[in-house]
């Protein structure tokens, strides 16, 4: 009893995150990592290039995080640690953040990493990256001396360190990319790439493989340990699974299909973890057009939500591997508020709401037609749910027509052009709501032609003002309250119906030490990963 009390006091005094961070560092629990060996990694995605400063998407970010360093890094409990920056100080008003760079840190070509490179990297990211909010609050980066970078902010940015802790903000060389060419199309995003991270780009064969070698001059006493990382790009889903089974590959991150996960979990030499995705927060949802058609009426949107059986989707379609989503923020986030209207399956409520909205059933029992789009990828999370909606919504008198898109651009054009009634979608939280959540709900982010902007065209001034406050609030408790209120309001307005959190798993060989399990998983550096016993 005494022991228990003592534990509770410790938990109360220390912040929960710090406690876990101190006790659960994987390095402390295990023997010292060994150097050497090759890691073969399977991926479904084809990177266009490797510069994550100007390109989002895991295809670029995962190798990008190995090739480029960042100022700071995050562990698996959201704690921020030094990386290319040795230390940092935040001013009392939260408007100035000064980073002290690590001495002796060099780019792959031997040039020292200076504050000018940091300033250049931030400016490049701000000008070119599709996520405008991640570093949107940064007004400028001052460089009082080569080892000090001072971020001057327009407003406090509570997620600044998190945004700087991943491939969203790589440190790129000014002496390479500052030559006046468009960085988005810079030839050295692929060829003769000069990075700042623990691995060097050796070779990229388009749509086949990426070979990365250990950076021998990486100025760290702790890693990188692997000699080589080979990313094998395999487009066929079952071929990826077979490559893992046959030990031709030893790590398979971003597994999202429950069949693959079930199958690989039967292999004795493979371990499967759901760690490494906490900051991704991938929400599968049904988006509504809130301006046009029957779904402009909030009662219709609510009725559709009540008519969808989330449990069926999770258990029958996803083999119980996905988790329910009840709002815009994924349950893994510290800002998650589950105390909102969750629209649990209720056909009578759905019918009553439709009656109230004046949509009476016709002679065939149908009230109206609804066209549902879906992304032509991740079928279990998209097509299967869209197809489920047809029999499900028929029960309340909505005749669903599923509209296939032959390829991603076709789908993106329809949705971003607001030419849709309802669409399945998957959108990532990206760690902090400022980075990945705000964009879907702000009135001023209704941008025709931009996918994953506010394509629902939802606009509620109250939500706008809450998000604006939460975006610059630095007090954690106050932010939690603001986001709690935000989640309650949007759950009532229901511009989209959040269905589930997509299962994301990493399968890896059991002899692999320190698999990528930080909140950013493989989109953060794998310099700690090593072979306990090298597989033949």
């Amino acid at each position: 009893m005494v022991k228990f009390k003592k534990l509770a006091t410790v938990a109360l005094t220390a912040t929960v995150g710090a406690m876990f961070g101190a006790t659960m560092q994987p390095q402390t629990a295990q023997a010292a990592p060994k150097a050497g060996g090759t890691l073969v990694w399977v991926s479904s995605q084809v990177p266009r290039h490797f510069n994550p400063a100007v390109q989002s998407g895991v295809a670029t970010m995962a190798p990008g995080a190995q090739l480029f360093g960042f100022l700071v890094r995050a562990d698996e409990n959201w704690n921020i640690h030094p990386y290319l920056a040795e230390s940092w100080t935040v001013s009392d008003d939260g408007l100035t953040v000064a980073f002290k760079l690590r001495k002796g840190a060099k780019f792959h070509d031997g040039q020292e990493i200076t504050s000018a490179d940091v300033a250049f990297s931030v400016a490049t990211q701000q000008a070119n990256h599709p996520f405008k909010t991640s570093l949107g609050a940064v007004e400028r980066v001052e460089t009082p001396d080569p080892m000090t970078a001072v971020f001057k902010l327009k407003q406090p940015h509570p997620a600044l360190l998190l945004a700087l802790s991943t491939a969203l903000a790589p440190i790129i060389p000014k002496h390479v990319y500052g030559d006046g060419q468009d960085v988005k199309k810079h030839p050295r995003n692929v060829k003769d790439l000069v990075g700042s991270g623990p691995f060097l780009l050796k070779e990229y064969k388009k749509a086949q493989h990426v070979i990365m070698l250990k950076n021998p001059n990486f100025n760290s006493s702790d890693g990188p340990y692997l000699d080589r990382i080979i990313i094998k790009i395999i487009r066929d889903a079952s071929a990826r699974v077979i490559a893992m089974e046959k030990k031709e590959a030893q790590i398979f991150p971003y597994m999202v299909d429950s069949k693959d996960i079930r199958r690989l979990s039967k292999s004795k030499h493979i371990k499967i973890t759901d760690k490494g995705y906490a900051a991704i927060g991938p929400v599968t949802w049904l988006a509504f057009n809130t301006k046009d058609g029957p779904t402009a009426d909030v009662r219709v949107r609510q009725a559709i939500a009540y008519a969808i059986d989330r449990n069926f989707i999770i258990n029958a379609l996803h083999g119980g591997l996905s988790k329910p989503a009840t709002g815009p923020i994924a349950p893994g986030s510290p800002f998650y508020n589950g105390d909102v209207e969750t629209y649990d399956f209720d056909l009578d409520k759905a019918k009553a709401l439709l009656d109230e909205a004046g949509l009476k059933p016709g002679s065939d029992g149908m009230r109206f037609k609804l066209e549902v789009d879906h992304i032509p990828a991740v079928p279990e999370q998209q097509k299967a749910i869209a197809e489920y909606l047809r029999p499900a919504l028929k029960k309340v008198g909505i005749a669903v027509r599923v509209r296939n898109a032959p390829d991603f651009p076709t789908w993106a054009k329809r949705i971003s052009g607001h030419q849709f009634q309802a669409s399945m979608d998957i959108v990532f939280n990206w760690g902090d709501p400022v980075i990945g959540v705000h964009r879907t709900y702000l009135c001023n982010n209704i941008k025709k032609g931009v996918i994953w902007s506010n394509t629902q065209q939802y606009c509620n001034p109250k939500v706008d003002s809450i998000l604006e406050m939460a975006g610059k609030e630095t007090d954690m408790a106050k932010r939690v309250n603001l986001y709690g209120e935000f989640q309650r309001i949007v759950a009532d307005d229901l511009p989209l119906y959040w269905i589930n959190i997509m299962p994301q798993r990493t399968a890896y060989h059991m002899d692999l030490g320190n698999p990528p399990t930080s909140v950013w998983g493989v989109i953060s550096p794998m310099d700690q990963t090593y072979w306990k016993k090298q597989p033949k």
């Binding site: 889903a237 069926f312 029958a316 379609l317 197809e387 047809r390 599923v402 509209r403 296939n404």
Partner: protein
Amino acid sequence: MTDQVEPSAPAAPKLEPDFVPEVEKPWLQTWRMFAKNRAALFGLVLLSVIVGMAVLGPTLYPADPYDIVWAPQSPPGTEGFILGTDYLGRDLLAGIIYGSRATLIVGAAAALITIVIGILVGALAGYYRGWVEELLMRITEFFQVLPPLLLAMVLVLLFSPTLVTISIAIGVVSWTATARLARAEFLRIRELEYVKGARSIGARNSRIIWLVILPNAAPPLIVSAAFAVGIAILFEAGLSFLELNDPNIMSWGYMIGSNRPYVLESWWAVTFPGIAIFLTVLAVSLIGDGLNDALNPRLRQR
């Protein structure tokens, strides 16, 4: 041939009764030849059953093939669902019954388009010869060198996939063989005596093409039409397999395509629609084969 022999006037040659059985009506003769071929008869029976299922099935087995009726991936026989359920829990038997309609409609419509384009092009080229033939045959060759399934995919992608666009796409990519066949027949027949005769009494070109030559060129074209139906059904299945289909219309190809990722866990969901396609194409091919035998004058006397 006649059983009765006239007792009186044996010297007077009675042409009429002797001749009537000899010039049996052509369609009757064809049927007699066709019926001799057991395999062709089997094909006909099979196709009749499938068409019967498409026409009457929904009345006998009223169900919405899209309804979720039981737990997903239930094996055949579960709770009275004799073919089991697919990955969403939809009744596979209902899917096969309702899907037969789309499959047969696409097969027939695409074959019709194939035949119409093919005959039109082949007839004009074979009859007029000269620059008309040059032009039409170059166009035919242009279509022949394009891989048909790829071209059909492009066409379906350009215009969103519906039954109409899929039928047109399949027809547009598969008419070339028919056109070449029709041209060869027209080239042969246009030089025959009766065509020359028709021309010499002043028949117009259109009359000669459609009323004189075409009926005589019909037998191989009918056979090719029968095969075109089978090919079109396979094409439809192939396009659906690649998800180039209308997901709101149940078809066998769609059933296979949408259940394909789950094949290791529920074999039945792809196997039964596959068998259905196999049987239909087999039936159509057997009929085509039988027609080939029955309509070929050289084989008639065997």
